[in-house]
Symmetry: C2
Subunit: 185 residues, 2 copies
Amino acid sequence: MPLNGVDTPTLFATIKAVGAEPALANFQFRAKSRWLSGTHSESTIHGFFGAGGEQTHVAPYKAESDHPRVLCGADAAPSPVEWVLHALASCLAAGIGNIAAARGIKLTRVESTVEGDIDLRGLLGLSKDVRNGYERIAVSFEIDGDASPDQLRQVVMQSQARSAVFDILTNGVPVSVSAKTLAAA
Amino acid sequence: MPLNGVDTPTLFATIKAVGAEPALANFQFRAKSRWLSGTHSESTIHGFFGAGGEQTHVAPYKAESDHPRVLCGADAAPSPVEWVLHALASCLAAGIGNIAAARGIKLTRVESTVEGDIDLRGLLGLSKDVRNGYERIAVSFEIDGDASPDQLRQVVMQSQARSAVFDILTNGVPVSVSAKTLAAA
């Protein structure tokens, strides 16, 4: 039965279909980004590949990013490192919704606070001993539903165990960066 | 002189101030997230700690996230793994804006496409040999400005070398997840 807004029969059927035809599991997600001014940019997220073909979201989503004023940005939007925290919180929340539904647990509240600690001497080039990125990230959930505290905590832990963004952040990913210039000198 | 929308005198003064008082470099960024239904959630990004005290963005920023329909979501927003690509693209773009300004290069165009390849058998629990997250991410920039192609490419490479999100994604971060339950069983 559908639960928590999750169509569990369709979810189980999808997992079964992918199990029977693993090529359906190959996805490529994409963002197109355009620099606007200073530290301000805008991404468009629309098309992706998956389930055997090209797909599109129901609409082209746009999102901006900027540095805060204390870091000399215009603060037109959240900063890039804050978007990382949003990605992590939302990936864990989505997993919690799905996993609780699969286990027949009705959720009434799931909230989290994500905190990322960073020493800016790294990215400002002021210290070679300090990394550019977060030193640590802590996620604190408050979860409520029609199951025991232990069952609810196990849903959170299973979401962590299957989270794409948790894996990306904790284990790292090979990233290649290339640049093409169009102008002659 | 200010360039590319970057107030370079203030940027250099900020770097100098942090060099003189390293405690100013300790920042904590935060997101608060609320599960809505299914795989749909919303984050609020407002306060952060840095430059010696509590700070707030000019406004509380809100951002949603959801799974696409082909993955049984309602597609109300970009997916968590797409937010990771936005974070990376926008971090590199912000660095390019700052670094070009510091080098006296006027930019006329900076665009990127970010692609992340993922085999969903990992997060669907269908294979123990497949990771949950991206197998690889590729960023392709097109950059134009009043400098040689080589100088422009070097701006992109220096942005990568100082990027917080590039470091986070390629080198990983320790992430702790905790859960508090409020309801009795």
